[in-house]
Every structure is written in structure tokens, then in C-alpha cells.
Amino acid sequence: MMSNHLEDRRLVRRLRRACSRALPFRWRDWWRQRSRRSDNGAVVRVVMRAALSVAIAFGGMLAAVQVLAPQLLTLAGLMMMHLRIELIRHRLGSDPALAVLAQLPVPSRRIVDLQMRPVWRASLWLGLDAAGFWMVAWLSQGVAVEWWLLPVIGAAHAAVTLALALAVVLLGRTPPLWWVPIIAIALAWCLVKADTGMAWAWPAIQPVLQALRVGTPWGWLGLAAELGPRDALAAGAGLGSCLVLAVASIIVLRDRLRSTWRLDPSWREVAGRPGHHFSWDDDVIADADEDSDGPKLAGGGPTRADTQGQTESRVALAWQAARTAPSGLSLDGLGWVGRRVASRLATKERFLADRLSPVRVDEAVWRWALLMAGLSAASALAGIAGYWSLFLLAAILLARRQRGLSVLSALIGIIAIRWTVWEPIVSAVLPVIAILMVTPIAGGTWGGLPMGWTLLGNMPRCWLTLVRIMVTVIGFRFVASIPIVATAIFAMCISVSPTAGGLAAIGWLICILSAPWIIPLQLIRRTPGGLADVGHGRGWLTFLGVTLLIVQFLLMVFLLVAVAVGADSGWITFLAMVGGAIVASGVVTVLQVALLRLAYRRYVDLQ
């Protein structure tokens, strides 16, 4: 009776067609329906595949150039991984909710299979990502990585992801603090081995070093032409960065894991007595009743209370589902892992009941994310990913503050803002400003910084912006892509020809001034809580602005110092550039914060 998929798409299509036929045709409805279908992931998947193809083709083309290829390709690999994580989140979001499935007269085994599927799928995707990433790195660097290494690494990556996911489940909570020293030791070991040039590991590590270096200002400024001790440090930090990415994915997965593995009564069933019917713990039931009877969803539009209610209601629903599942599932065939998971769950029912409190969950996510962000920040001190870790931290804070907003979405939003606003400034405007400032000091010789160098140095950034556009547009699929594209065109123009850049600047200025409006607004629009939720999260845009301020300031100082040092300029030049950078940064940031505040007020007014 039951097919492999409970979601019978043909039946859904049939019913949908029947309903459509019964209603008068309206283009608006048709369009909305199409939009909704795209939300279900089909379009995203298609775009992802297309983007992957384009990236590979693009990378292949650039590989011939041999100049920009390494950076772009490796970056593309990183971006693909990032996108893939987002895609996983999207896919998981469309999986059937166990709470509803458990209502149906479906065999327990089927439910267990459905529960396992997201984990396997996530592992598989991440493994493929890793393999793709390494393949890109391999292609871009021309380093002799054995072909068999790619699937091995992919499998290892998948195994690590799965292990992390299982660890979360087995532990029944976030990883404890003792994970940190273990990870640190592992990182240190990698660093030592990398630094001493371990023969067998080096070919595998080298492309990663190169790849990760791309993400650093050093890499962009061409200051690290050859691998050295600094790269080894960067590698460690880069590994931390990758770890952060993995952790972000795990954080995303945790919600799903929590709502599936932990709450599935069949695990408790199998953990109880094989062949017997499970006897519910009265205390747990009592707790469950308190949980389930309390929160109710209110009708009408989304409100802050609703969002809270939905969170709590999800807990209630899960408990409800826990009660509705059939009993008597056999342990046979589940294997050691299944039995272990079931056992842990069965012995931790009270613990899980506590854990299901939304407040506790928040705390757990927060602690875990903070832990990993701290680790990443520590890595950043080694010289890489400083702003990435800051971004992540900002995203975590934002997600924590903005209930319902995932860390990844917040991260994408922040990065999009940074790319939209900051990147063109760094790419084109500030170097010009800096040069103009330095010119009088240096006697009209462009401060020793040849314009050609500046433009050439900006080329990769402009191309990078293009890649980022693709990522941003795919990631967000919103109207902000217009100013982003305009920004990129401008950046490209000014890189190629100042005249063209000047012409493009007019359009760019218009777009860039609108970008701080559009992106946060879209970010808000995409939050499940909706606008009303933002009304209660007062000041989060200000927080975003402050974060941007910090990030911009650090990055600007760093870049300008690097430029100054790289140009071998004197102290006067250096100080002038730093001073100018601070002023410019301050002005830009104040403008941004003002715009963000204005956007926020505008939205509140629209309530």
C-alpha cells in the first residue's frame, strides 16, 4: 500500500489541478503557485546545478589564463560548499515533519527510515561538496593530487559530518567543552605536520593552504606568493574556518535532528524491550502534558507571540507525535548505532523533556555557536578569517536575536550587505581616495602606487564580485540583486577604464544607496516571524550597523596597512592612509547606520 514516498507528488498534482479547474483562472494565482513551487526547492536545485556547471566552465576557462584561476576556482569551491549547506537546509525544510507522519497509520520502520534520510542525505551532500571543493582546488592549483584522493576525502568529510550529527544525537545535547581541546590538538597536529612538510600529507594540504589563502587579505594583495610558515598558520586558521562552516551546517541540522531523532517515540520503543510494548514514563507524560496543553497557536497574522507560540507548539506537536506513534518496533536490523541511539534516548527522556524547552534549546544553540565562534576567532588571530568569524558571530547574534531567522540566513544577509556595500568601496573607491590623498604628500607621483597596480590589484576583486553576485542572487533570489549587479558592473568598469567607471558610478551611487535599504528589508521579509517580529526586536538593524562598523574598520585598517607596507611607503604615507581610512570608514558607517535605522523606522511605520 505504501510506496517509497509518502509525499505522492502525482496525487498532489492531481488534487491541485482539480482545485485549479474548479476556480476561475487568475494569472496572479498561477504566478504565486509557481513561486511557491520554486520555494520547494526544485528551482533552487536547478539553479544550483546550472551554477555548478557555469562555475566549472568558468573555472576551466580561467584555468587557461593561469592568473586568476586559482583564486577564483578555489573560491568557487568554497562558495559551492556554502551554497550546498544552504541547499541542505532547504531540502531538510521540505522533508515531511515527523509529527504529522506519526499521526498516520504508517509502520514504525517507515518512520525511522524517514528520520534517517536527512542525515544520510546531508552527509552525502557534504561529502560531494568536499570532493568538489578538492577537485576545484586541484584544478586551480595544478598540484599533483592523486585522483583517488578526491573520493576518499569526500567520504572522510561525509563521515566526519555524520559523526558530528550522530554525536549530537548520542550525546543528546551540544558537545561539551572537552571537544574544544581535542579539536585544538587536532588542529595543532595538522599545523605541525604541515609545517614540517610531512611528505604524504603535504600534497593534500597544499591546495587547501592555497585555497584558504585566497580568502585572506594577504592572498588578495599578493603578499603571500609562496607557501611559508605564515601559510601554515593560515592553514590552521583556515581549518578553523572550515570547521566553522561545518559547525554552521550542524547547527542548521540540529533543529532537524531535534525534531526527528529525539522525539521519535519509536526510538524509545526500540530502546525499551524488544518485542514488548513500551511503557511510558509517567513523569515524562506529565511534562509532556504541561508542554502540549499550554502553548497554543493564535490565529491571524504572525506576531511575536505567535513566533514564540509556534516554537512551543512545535514542542507540543512533537510530544503529541510521540504519543501517536505505533509501538512494538523490533530492534532487529537497526544495528549497533540504532540501538545505541535508542538506548541513549530512552535513558534520557527526562533530560530530553527538559531540553525541549525552547529556552533551553536557545541556550544550547547559543553556547555551542559561541564556542565555535570563539574557536574560529582564535584561529582568526593566527591571521585568517578574521572577518569571517566576525560575520559568523554577527550572524549568530542576529539569529539569536531575530527568532526564526537561521544562522545561515543571517550569515548570508550580512555577507551580502558586506559585499554590496563594502566590496566596491574597497575594490575601487578607497584605493583611489587613498591615492589621491597620498599624491600631494608624495609630490604628485601617485604616492608610489602606480594606478596600473591598483587597477590590476582590483581585477581579482571585481571578478570575485561577479562570483559573489551569483552566490548572492542564488542565495537570496531577491531584488537586491539589482544593486549588486550594478555594483559589480561599476567595479568592473572602474577596473578596466576610469572613464567607464565614472559613467557607471552614477548608476552605482543610486543603487548602492538603495542597497542598505533593500537588503535588510528583504532579510526581514524572509524571516518567518515577519515584520511584526522585527518590531519587537528593536535595534537589531543598529546592531547590524555596529557590526559592519567594526568589520569595516578592522578590514580597512588592515588593508590599508597592508597596502602601505606592500608599497614600501613611508610612515607619513602610512599614517595618512590610515587616517583617511578611519575618516572614510566612519563616514560610510554612519551613513549606513543612518540608512539602516531609516529603513527600520520605515518598516515599523508600515506595520
Binding site: 492531481r14 515533519a97 509501538s327
Partner: protein, 251 residues
């Protein structure tokens, strides 16, 4: 109209049912026979055990003591065949927020193995009756509370179970038309042989819309009235159902 019909309606018997939560006994030695073709209303004070009774009947929770039999067989949660003959609809139905109404119905039809038995016209009719037709493609999250209940109710109506277990359906946020549809459909299903059990706090509805009225109090079945007895009672004052309920509260 797609309702259950046939002589083999599921026979549900409850004997000495008890359910304890921690130290509190919510249900105590409750005996009950659910006969096909009846609409059974369950009323009682808050905490009387109404919802717990429904959950026990649905197999959602396991009784502490006593037995529930479906067609003479022990009621087990792991009995998909008999499980497929009943639908339990909580007052806050379980719905997937991202699913549309149509997808929700399709999922349930599929899960209950009724997808082949339902034609398009029936689906459209049910949705139209519940004023959900133009919302059929919308995600559940975009619906109001009453509409969400209607979406769950639509799935129930399409499944046409033999045993309806409805928890507070008249406090579900549905509009009057929705409640009328529910009553009309429930009555039609009962006439065709199904058994409808619902809980409510609205005495007027319970009095008028039932074949049997069960009064729960402190976990026990205090009293039950048949349709004839209810009609013989005065609508107000001494001897009315409201008056009788006060007696049970003081016990």
C-alpha cells in the same frame, strides 16, 4: 458524499480504563462502549479527563490500567489496519506549516491508503464546503487558526474513518459555516454507521448535537444521557443538564 458505510464498523470497548500522570489519576475505572451510528458528546469540567479519554481511545497514550479493544482485539498503537479506521483530530491539529492544504490532504489520503478511492470532484466538494477551495494551494502557515482546523477536517472528511475522535471541534476557531458543515457531515457519517466522539465545553451544542451525552468528572464517567433523556429534560432550571453538572462538580 464520501462517508463510511457498511455493517463492519469498528466496535470499540473500554473496560476499567485508568490513566495516571505521575501521582494524579486522570481517568479512573472508566467503562464505555462506542456503538456505531452514534454521535457521542463528552462534557466535563476542565481536567475531567476528556482529552485524555480521546487520546487513550486513539492509542495516542497507553492506559495505566484497563483495556481498550477494537473489534475485540487489544487496541495497539502498532496496528496500522485498525489505526487506519480512526482519525483523532486534536483541537490544535498537527499540520506541516510548509505544506499546502492540498498536500496535507494528499499526505493523509496516502497514509490512510485512501488515495485511490477519492475522486477529484469529492475533493473539490469538501474544500468548497469548508471554504478552502481558493486556499487549497496556500501553505498551512498562511492560514488562520480556523482555516487550519478546516484543513485538517477536510483530510478527515476525505478519509471518512469509522471512528471520529474530535477534541473540542467547536472551539477550534472555525466559522459558523464550518461548524455547520462539521455537524452535517458528522451526522451523515453517523447515519452511515460511523461513530463520532467529540468533546466540548459548550453545553448547548452538546445537548443538541449528540445521541449520547457522557459527563466526565474527576476521571470517572459520572453519568450518561441518551437522546430521549436529553429531550425530556427542561432546558433551564432544576433538572436541566446544567443543574445536573453542578451536582457532579460538588461531588
Amino acid at each position: 458524499m464520501q462517508v463510511f458505510s457498511g455493517p463492519s464498523c469498528m466496535d470499540t470497548r473500554v473496560r476499567s480504563l485508568a490513566k495516571c500522570f505521575t501521582t494524579e489519576e486522570v481517568l479512573t475505572d472508566l467503562d464505555l462502549d462506542l456503538v456505531s451510528g452514534q454521535v457521542v458528546a463528552v462534557i466535563g469540567l476542565n481536567g475531567a479527563g476528556k482529552t485524555t479519554l480521546l487520546r487513550c481511545l486513539a492509542g495516542v497514550i497507553t492506559p495505566t490500567r484497563g483495556t481498550i479493544t477494537w473489534d475485540g482485539e487489544p487496541g495497539l498503537r502498532d496496528d496500522p489496519v485498525r489505526h487506519a479506521k480512526m482519525v483523532f483530530l486534536p483541537d490544535d491539529p498537527l499540520l506541516m506549516a510548509e505544506q499546502s492544504v492540498v498536500e496535507h490532504m494528499a499526505l493523509h489520503l496516502r497514509g490512510y491508503g485512501r488515495d485511490g478511492a477519492i475522486d477529484d470532484a469529492t475533493v473539490v466538494r469538501v474544500l468548497r464546503e469548508l471554504d478552502l477551495l481558493d486556499r487549497a494551494g496556500k501553505p498551512v502557515a498562511m492560514l488562520s487558526r480556523g482555516q487550519r482546523y478546516k484543513a485538517a477536517l477536510a483530510a478527515l472528511l476525505l478519509i471518512a474513518p469509522e471512528l471520529w475522535l474530535l477534541d473540542e471541534p467547536f472551539a477550534s476557531g472555525m466559522d459558523p459555516q464550518g461548524m455547520l458543515t462539521l455537524r452535517r457531515r458528522a451526522r451523515a457519517a453517523a447515519d452511515a454507521g460511523a461513530c463520532i466522539v467529540y468533546t466540548t465545553q459548550i453545553l448547548e451544542i452538546a445537548e443538541r448535537f449528540c445521541d449520547r451525552l457522557l459527563v466526565l468528572g474527576r476521571g470517572r464517567l459520572q453519568v450518561q444521557f441518551t437522546r430521549v433523556e436529553l429531550e425530556a429534560m427542561p432546558s433551564d432550571g432544576p433538572g436541566s443538564i446544567a443543574d445536573r453538572l453542578d451536582e457532579f462538580r460538588d461531588r
